[in-house]
Amino acid sequence: MKKYILDLVLRRTTQPRPGYVLLQLTDPDKPLPEMLPGQFVEVRVDGSPTTFLRRPISINLVDRQRNELWLLVHAVGAGTRALAALTEGAVVNVVLPLGRGFTLPEEAASEWGAASERGAASSRENLEAQSYLLVGGGVGTAPLLYLGQELAALGYKPTFLLGARSADDLLQLDDFRRLGAVHLTTEDGSAGERGFVTQHSLWQTATFSRICTCGPKPMMVAVARLAHEKGIPCEASLENLMACGLGACLCCVEDTVDGNVCVCKEGPVFSTDKLKW
């Protein structure tokens, strides 16, 4: 997939919750390039003396009709605070699209089809039987919105299971609800069920054919374990510290069954049975 360095224009900046900023960027001259759910962009941070490297940020949404790229930023350090302080009309330099995203239904179906060696008709049935559970925690819910949108566009009804510390950290719920059923957990019980995503009652009643997760590592490890126990294929999106975003510097490596591999190039989305975490 061809990568680009683009100067995008910040069309709108909003605060979905205190401490979080949604940047809606556009290319005023041409359509945005092809980007897949789970891929990310490297954003150059200008005007922050202590910020030197670009910031890797997951693709929150691509709105083709409005030609918009959405980035959801949690302002936690100097770099992300500088991005949060950008005002409408600002030019934002991005390198995109980077990395490998989530496996979409067509690919997933062909994987399973090959495994079962069944005919085209039954692989179509397989495809229709696929039910996706998207499990997100904190700002890690961001790429699941784009994934959910693309699944919905392909005719699937994704189920979302979103967790956060408290109701104040749950983001973009209205957008998620437009795409599928949304189940919530909070650690303090202020929204949805009290506890972690892996403790939600949904796991007792529903079954899924595929799980995609993004969030804090301990959460993803727990989700992956649960998926493994239930025999459900699971993919997780990692966010290791990275510099180049292109697979050149080898800083962001993750230990996998294939050895140390770059999260920025071989990931950020991995099948969880490849990970040694």
Binding site: I5, T50, F52, R54, V95
Partner: protein, 304 residues
């Protein structure tokens, strides 16, 4: 239009801009952003005789105007390079060099010997200055005897252009440069990263997995420039200058200090198209000041 051609020993470069090892992958990773043929030379990542897994994560920490890394020479080994990478990189229409590392003079030499057999690799850069591996690496680069021993072993088996990459983590880099010149190095490149560290105050622990790492980026530029200046006065062989070059003006400063060519490293992470911009910017500078060739400004700041 000034002439950008330059020479490093027998190695002819179409312009003085090369990429620093470990910051540009095998070049192919950047093909979407720049025409690789417009770069003077591509120095591919550190290659060793045996495959290496490198150090554990985390390997990177951002610092003021720079970054630390402790990658630790992760690579699939020289045979993998020869069989799988070389057929691809030889297609690139520019000089492709291999950065060679080892843990003894013998392993350096054997790795260099295998690369010498590759027709389209006109030169190697000998890495005696990696601060992130336990055995070898910088251990050879911080004493004149250690540096000389590696260069001697490699020189005996490597007939093409031999560039030796020097460590800044020494008392006198001029002495090291003289030692490798005496053993027949065709050129020196400097500087490799400066050893540093970062600590996470909240966790009260070092950020990098092995504690320390190599500092690169604009933060090290004044140190690098000073060392190029000193080495220019100490040796006759050409110098390849690097350390924090972010733009054409930075590059020109290194040429004026005595470098015949320059390498761009960390800047590739900020702007993947920076190499070509720097090459064009050097040309603009030469035209603006009435120079007809880039070779005219090498070491010019030493005059008068």
């Amino acid at each position: 239009m000034a002439d950008l051609h330059t020479k490093i020993g027998a190695l002819e470069l179409k312009n003085p801009v090369m990429t620093a090892s470990g910051t540009f992958g095998y070049g192919l990773e950047f093909a979407d952003f720049v025409d690789l043929a417009e770069i003077g030379g591509i120095i591919v990542k550190g290659t060793t005789l045996e495959p290496r897994q490198g150090n554990a994560y985390p390997r990177m920490a951002e610092t003021a105007q720079g970054m630390l890394n402790c990658v630790g020479l992760q690579n699939k080994g020289v045979d993998y390079f020869c069989q799988h990478i070389y057929p691809e990189v030889r297609q690139i229409d520019t000089a492709v060099l291999v950065n060679v590392s080892g843990n003894s003079p013998e392993t350096y030499a054997e790795c260099a010997r295998r690369i010498a057999e590759l027709d389209d690799i006109p030169a190697i850069e000998l890495n005696i200055s990696c601060p992130n591996v336990k055995q070898g690496g910088m251990a050879f680069g911080v004493t004149c005897e250690g540096a000389a021993s590696v260069v001697k072993a490699v020189r005996a088996v490597y007939p093409k252009t031999l560039i030796v990459k020097l460590s800044p983590n020494v008392t006198s880099i001029a002495d090291i440069a003289r030692a490798v010149e005496a053993e027949g190095a065709d050129a020196v490149s400097l500087i490799n990263t400066l050893m540093g560290m970062a600590i996470d105050a909240e966790k009260r622990r070092p950020i990098l997995s092995i504690g320390t790492g190599g500092l690169s980026g604009p933060a090290v530029k004044p140190v690098a420039l000073r060392m190029v200046w000193q080495v220019f006065e100490a040796v006759q062989i050409p110098i390849v200058g690097l350390g924090g070059i972010m733009n054409a003006t930075d590059a020109v400063e290194f040429l004026l200090a005595g470098a015949s060519a320059i390498e761009i490293g960390t800047a590739n992470f900020i702007d993947p198209a920076v190499t070509v911009k720097v090459a064009r910017g050097i040309e603009d500078y030469l035209d603006r000041h009435g120079f007809t060739s880039v070779r005219e400004i090498v070491g010019l700041a030493h005059e008068g």
